[in-house]
Symmetry: C2
Subunit: 214 residues, 2 copies
């Protein structure tokens, strides 16, 4: 049975998953990058990015669930890149270089059609123009019994959360304030949607919680 999971989604103390004024230089907005300090230092992060080293421990244990048993990813168009509106050409192929850290099909939500892009290492970007449910249907099919992981960003996770379509959401609360930007949970009544906090693992770098839908 395919589960729909989110991992390593960092928010600030005041609940923002991205800061204000997102640009190509600061794709997570002003202050947004610092939300991931707990993640960047882990062995899992280094491995995901094809490197060695990094810390072990509770942060790494949480981080390491990224991609584990995952057969397809879904992400929003703003997580795929900084381009808005119609695709001007085929030059933009994601933030991650030739060999992205997904290694399975990735379904990108967009209003603008584009042909699939086959990258090195098994990642294929598919562009889905008929909405989040259709993206999930295609991702579930592609995952062939494995899980589907939703990468982000905030708007994409909010869409799936609000529809009750996420089974498991790992949120890392970083000890930072952003003040404005994209708020992850505002206006979403998670208990009413069936979610509860099933894991609580605080570390010096972040408070990890897993919200699970029953």
């Amino acid at each position: 049975m395919t589960r729909v999971r989110v991992h390593n989604f960092s928010i600030s103390l005041d609940g923002y998953g991205a800061g204000p004024r997102q640009t190509r230089e600061e794709p997570l907005g002003v202050g947004g990058e610092a939300l991931h300090d707990w993640f960047v230092q882990t062995r899992a992060f280094q491995r995901i990015n094809g490197k060695t080293g990094g810390t072990t421990g509770a942060d790494d244990d949480m981080a390491a669930r990224f991609g584990e048993g995952v057969g397809a990813f879904i992400m929003g168009r703003n997580m795929f890149g900084p381009i808005r509106g119609a695709w001007p050409d085929d030059a933009w192929r994601g933030w991650w270089g030739k060999n992205p850290p997904y290694h399975v099909p990735v379904f990108v939500l967009t209003h603008h059609p584009r042909s699939p892009i086959e990258m090195e290492g098994g990642t294929v970007f598919h562009f889905v123009t008929d909405g989040p449910r259709e993206a999930l249907r295609r991702a579930t099919e592609a995952a062939a019994g494995k899980d589907v992981q939703i990468g982000g960003g905030v708007a994409t996770i909010r869409q799936y959360l609000g529809a009750g379509l996420i089974d498991e959401l790992h949120v890392a609360i970083a000890p930072r304030l952003l003040g404005s930007g994209e708020h992850l949970l505002h206006g979403l009544d998670l208990p009413a949607l069936g979610y509860e906090c099933t894991t609580h693992t605080p570390t010096a770098a972040a408070t990890h919680v897993v919200l699970t839908r029953s």
Copy 2:
């Protein structure tokens, strides 16, 4: 120099300081009481309530700052009691019995005048009808060089935070979801107001942060 402090203010993972449907039986709304599980077990909580026992450790260390060096308290009318509108009589004297845990003057924000109430143990409730700044002026005067602590609830803290009048705010994030109720920080841009996170002490029961205004 008098500082204005908040201690032991518990919020849920989704940012609520009180749950929905507040009643006399559930003054913190549905689910709100559970936000304080980390606090109730501490030695400081037992001491504040005139008892002995309780846990020591990081939760207790944070909790114990309640009242320390504090010469006056401020609280909102809904924290003082469940009565709304004009006072029907003088019967309601707070939730805390004959000897409340304040032992100094307490300034209660209300739109409805009422004579001061002198309790056992040094607590005197004063009712302030001319707004939060006047309450702070009177509390600062009464504190005579000691600090002023703002007790709550959410609406009161939001008023003082939004005006940049709180110097130090200890928030305990409990591993619970409330889904709705009174949100502590929504719409308040804390970095723009000069606040940053200066202490981050996660425990198994709560994530303690101190937000300080520079």
